[in-house]
């Protein structure tokens, strides 16, 4: 009996131990007797496994791009043109900040037609008591190898195309002031030294077809001090790309020939631009009219500084610099619709323009016209890419640009 008792007692101990272990293993939370203690236990458990949020690869890339947009790297690339008609252009742009908001930059550009540009400059904004004055200065050198010249006047033909080449060294200062938010005024003085050469490209060079009588200033390479002043009533929102507001401007330019005054001349430029948004900018009717007129009939304006029409933002069915004369008038009407407010515009447009040797010779029945359609990818305040296809008397013409037409 004594021995049996010992054995049964041992079994009971085993039962008790097994039961306790099983109970504890099966119910780790059973020690909690209140909801509050249960939640506290869960919070403590969670606190043991906290880890810092790790963005995935896509988010890391987007974060880097976002930071680059807000705080761009000092060296960037762009596709700004060196000179209209130069074709696809690549630029390396170096930008540095100094002071509060001032910047200085260096730019080197090269196009598929071997147009070249080197420029350095600085811009100092927020000057003056009301911080409305912006001062800027720049110096640079440009080489345009095959600029088109079709003769002077409207009666020129497509077959008359020749090319000329010029190199320009320039340096100047400019002041921009907003007397009121809607009243910008600007003035500048720039030295412009030109060297003219035979044109490159497939067509003949200018001196093979034209003479100083048909191309004023042909054979000379004058230097100018170019001064200008401009005022406008500008109700457009800030930024290059806008869908509302207007600008009505008047400007005066004086080119002083420093090599004897043979080619000194003055010009006035007047412009009117208006965007009319319709149904909360679902559509926009945009229109612009310009007049550029040389003052005085006896001044001699070199052919490469005559007012011109043609290219990406006037008479878009024609090549850049297609029409030249002492006076130029043009108008553009665009009906824009907005498939995507954030990024995409479409437009149908009508361009009209003419040049003349006398301002009185600008007549309504002498305008040459074209129509076209365009697709524009844009950001909130600037154009990313614009493709306009236009058709006129010269046939079809495609414009690809990263600038707004107006």
């Amino acid at each position: 009996m004594q021995g049996r008792t010992v054995v049964r007692g041992r079994n009971l101990c085993v039962v008790a131990a097994l039961s306790t272990a099983s109970f504890c293993l099966a119910s780790p939370c059973a020690a909690q007797e209140t909801r509050e203690s249960e939640i506290a236990a869960k919070q403590a458990e969670k606190a043991q496994h906290l880890q810092k949020y790790q963005p995935n690869v896509v988010e890391k890339i987007l974060l880097r791009l976002e930071r680059g947009r807000l705080d761009p790297p000092p060296v960037t690339v762009s596709f700004d043109t060196v000179y209209s008609g130069g074709g696809l252009t690549g630029n390396v742009l170096f930008l540095r900040h100094y002071g509060d908001r001032a910047t200085w930059y260096g730019r080197a550009g090269y196009s598929i037609k071997q147009y070249k540009l080197i420029e350095v400059g600085t811009t100092v904004p927020d000057l003056g008591r009301r911080r409305r004055l912006v001062l800027s200065t720049k110096i640079g050198w440009r080489d345009a190898t095959e600029v088109g010249f079709w003769g002077v006047g409207m009666e020129t033909t497509e077959d008359g195309r020749t090319n000329y080449r010029f190199r320009e060294s320039y340096g100047g200062v400019r002041a921009d002031y907003r007397a009121a938010p809607w009243l910008p005024v600007s003035a500048g003085v720039t030295f412009e030294g030109y060297e003219l050469y035979s044109g490159k490209g497939s067509g003949p060079s200018i001196e093979d077809v034209y003479t100083p009588a048909t191309a004023p200033g042909l054979g000379d390479s004058p230097d100018f001090v170019h001064s200008d002043i401009r005022a406008a009533i500008d109700t457009r929102p800030p930024g290059e790309y806008t869908r509302k507001g207007g600008e009505y401007s008047l400007g005066f330019h004086n080119y002083l020939d420093v090599d004897g005054g043979t080619y000194s001349f003055s010009r006035v430029e007047a412009g009117a631009l208006q965007h009319i948004p319709i149904v909360r900018e679902t559509w926009v009717l945009s229109m612009r009219a310009r007049l550029r007129s040389t003052i005085g009939g006896d001044s001699q304006v070199p052919y490469f500084l005559l007012p011109t029409l043609g290219g990406g933002n006037s008479l878009r069915a024609h090549s850049s610099w297609r029409f030249r004369d002492r006076h130029a008038a043009d108008a553009t009407l665009e009906w824009r619709w907005i498939p995507n407010r954030a990024a995409l515009d479409m437009a149908v447009f009508f361009d009209a323009g003419q040049v003349a040797d006398e301002v009185n010779a600008l007549r309504p029945n002498r305008f040459t016209t074209n129509v076209g359609i365009g697709v524009r990818l844009h950001a909130r305040q600037f154009m990313v890419m614009r493709m306009d296809v236009a058709h006129g008397s010269a046939g079809w013409h495609l414009t690809i640009s990263n600038r707004v037409p107006f």
């Binding site: 009971l12 209140t34 919070q43």
Partner: protein, 228 residues
Amino acid sequence: MRTPAWFVATTTAAVLVIASSHAAAPKFYPDDPLPREPETQDASRAEISEVDLFSDLLVNMFMKPGDVTPSVRAGNINTIDEVPDSNWFTNRVGTVPLTGADITRGANVGKGPAPGRWTVISAKLGGAAPGFRVHDSQGEVWFLTLDIKRAPRAATGAIAVASRLYWALGYQQVESYLASFRPGDLDIPETTVYQTRTGHERPMTPEDIDQVLNISARNADGSYRVMA
């Protein structure tokens, strides 16, 4: 016939295991429903984590982030499916009587910036609306938000209304007071640092304040309305 001891022990253990597994998660505790969520952990070492808003937009528009397990019960509700009070939420509307005066007062417990001269201590770093931080004449720090010129009362009014509605709904809100000041009421000590857009730091000047005020809406009497 005597039952073997090993059989008794095994059976008892099995019964206890089954019983204990049922007892592991009781459906209700004596303190249910919990009126306030316990806060037992120290969150003071939380670190800032930058969220890319564009990525956030893309993920939430075109993907299905979050717990993919279906039919999971919300983790922050009590046993009667209500949100208990916590450090971010307090049951107000629908649970306690709220008068118009209560909602108008919202989270405010004081009287706002003390009258007198205010000392600018820093510029406002984030957000679209202009503003800066000041000490009032009692030494209290206030974060001031102004309205932009083309939208008078828009930002300050939206903050005033939204913060009170959210407070009434139960969400934690900071105190917010409508106040006004005149440019002459501001002092700028030499110790106040201004960080330029280019990252350069220098003492703040009256022109820096003017720059903020130039883009801000001004009252007819020449003062500026602010949300403090």
